[in-house]
Symmetry: C2
């Protein structure tokens, strides 16, 4: 299982007043994450009907790569920077490809 | 906007007892959808922590391509086949790429 490719979909809803301030925070996270050896792709998307609803759409080489990402300095820093700006608890799903 | 690439993330939770019966229904939908001219990619994923929680991770050439998909015979048939087997209302997000 260690080498099974996995996807993550992370739904993040932020406070309207925090949006402009958070965009560079998202950008830094993305730039640093794409440098990780275990990352395949990492895209931030925005709900076309709700500009405060974001979804990270991610591909990873393995569960170990995800573990390393979640323990990385840039991801830990991101969690600290975003926590007061969330409008809801994030929904994070780790996914195996079925078909 | 008509030619903007879009993504869809669709979270679908099904009844445990329906799983085996639904897998070929998902498979048919995927095979038919991948033939659509406006589809870029269409992958069914399964939550590693909950085998009854599925996420479709999709890429589309435009909103018009999504409209055509949602009106297609195979998608309409799929909706009819799945509705009695859902454990929750599906969460479907149409997404633009932000970064």
């Amino acid at each position: 299982m260690a080498d099974q490719k996995l996807r993550i979909v992370a739904l993040i809803s932020i406070k309207q007043e925090s949006r402009e301030q958070l965009l560079p925070v998202f950008k830094t996270l993305i730039e640093e994450t794409r440098k990780e050896e275990g990352n395949i792709s990492y895209v931030l998307t925005n709900d076309v009907k709700d500009q405060n609803s974001f979804v990270f759409v991610e591909e990873w080489k393995s569960q170990e790569a995800i573990n390393q990402h979640m323990a990385s300095a840039h991801f830990v820093a991101f969690q600290g920077q975003i926590k007061d700006h969330l409008a809801a608890v994030p929904q994070v799903k780790i996914l195996s490809e079925h078909f």
